[in-house]
Symmetry: D2
Subunit: 132 residues, 4 copies
């Protein structure tokens, strides 16, 4: 499990006064990226090896809106780990502990040269299975 | 059924060379907005009446990436129409007719003063049931 | 001179109820891209030849805000054309003809392999000097 | 003077492999917001009092691109402080201390009810003149 705190800036909101719905997916990706980094994996180095992670499927449920200037916590869990994909469940939580938005994202590992799915590098699989 | 054509600009892409995943949700919303407009409903006028549409639940599946400078078509269908919500199924399609991404979005009508669900205005329900 | 019409969507606005200031630069770039396209130049093909255009300097002045759901016109002029750069002056105008925002952008042509400035392709220079 | 560190995520980049030019203005605004917060001013509370800050004029110069996954520092100075506006000079700096991008932004204080310029609250003017 991993937690990232994120501040809501003007750029994240819309004229409805709340966070624009697509932007929750940005928050979710920042959290996944920071978790990978904590486990020792930098995505720019993976890119140089032509390894990328692609979001194949995402499901998002909005219980309540996040608002301008709020501090949010994004908690991330891995709920499924396979050889070439993994599925994260992520909660976007306000300062009172209320879950505003949930995101479930299935990420596939791809080879950018062949442009097709590939096995997640063994070192990553090892780390993920340790923290799952 | 409604179709909107959208060009992929630099702003929509990321360092992976493809459309950033959250941005497909922007395309989907532009298409829903233009369909509403064609049916005679302008969301700025609805906002003045404290009526807004909120995306409660969204599911997105990526079959293949859209790329910089491509022209895409977004087709939209209403797959469920209820008194206070409606569900759209939308396909993001490239120039060869391949479905790259599918989005299913459940939209709820909300009263912005009471901040709670409300019935979709009758005139809209009438139009939607006509085009469903 | 070139004109592009752009609709303001939720994604473009912020909690202040107006277009988020950085997003005017997106509108300006869409307009420059469409002008290039009209002149016969597609930036994805240029990218394959390792030719890109980089915004080196930009100046933006906000006279008045654009709002959700407005239809805007972006007019573009080339005010300076040099061998390796060109400067656009662009106005973002509302439906009443009022200039809301002005953007002046100096664009440099770069070779993406050498990562350094290069001469604008002759065919482009020819077209630009024709429309300046 | 104030410094904010910002990580470059996929959302910030474009198909050119670098930070999309408009997004530097997002980074600059996050830095200004965090500085205000450190000085004790929260913009959501100001909004409730119908006080907002609007970017009237911005000038940005790109010396070199920022790239995916880099950690950047944004330094901010106030270079002019007037009764109803202030001008920030901000540098976006990479880990080696190189200034990649400079932003100069003139911010005006506005009354959101009257929709016109107003004097910056005295408490803010006091704090700003202390740190200038």
């Amino acid at each position: 499990m991993h937690t990232l705190n994120i501040r809501v800036y003007y750029e994240d909101t819309d004229a409805g006064g709340v966070v624009y719905y697509a932007n929750y997916l940005k928050f979710a990706e920042r959290a996944r990226t920071e978790w990978l980094r904590e486990l020792g994996f930098e995505q720019d180095i993976l890119l140089e090896q032509n390894i990328a992670f692609v979001v194949k499927h995402v499901e998002m449920h909005n219980n309540a809106p996040a608002r301008f200037n709020q501090m949010l916590s994004i908690t991330s869990h891995i709920v499924e780990l396979k050889g070439a994909s993994m599925t994260f469940k992520q909660d976007i939580i306000n300062a009172l502990g209320k879950v505003l938005v949930t995101v479930q994202a299935k990420i596939a590992c791809v080879d950018l040269v062949a442009m097709r799915p590939r096995r997640i590098p063994e070192a990553m699989l090892g780390e993920f299975s340790r923290v799952i």
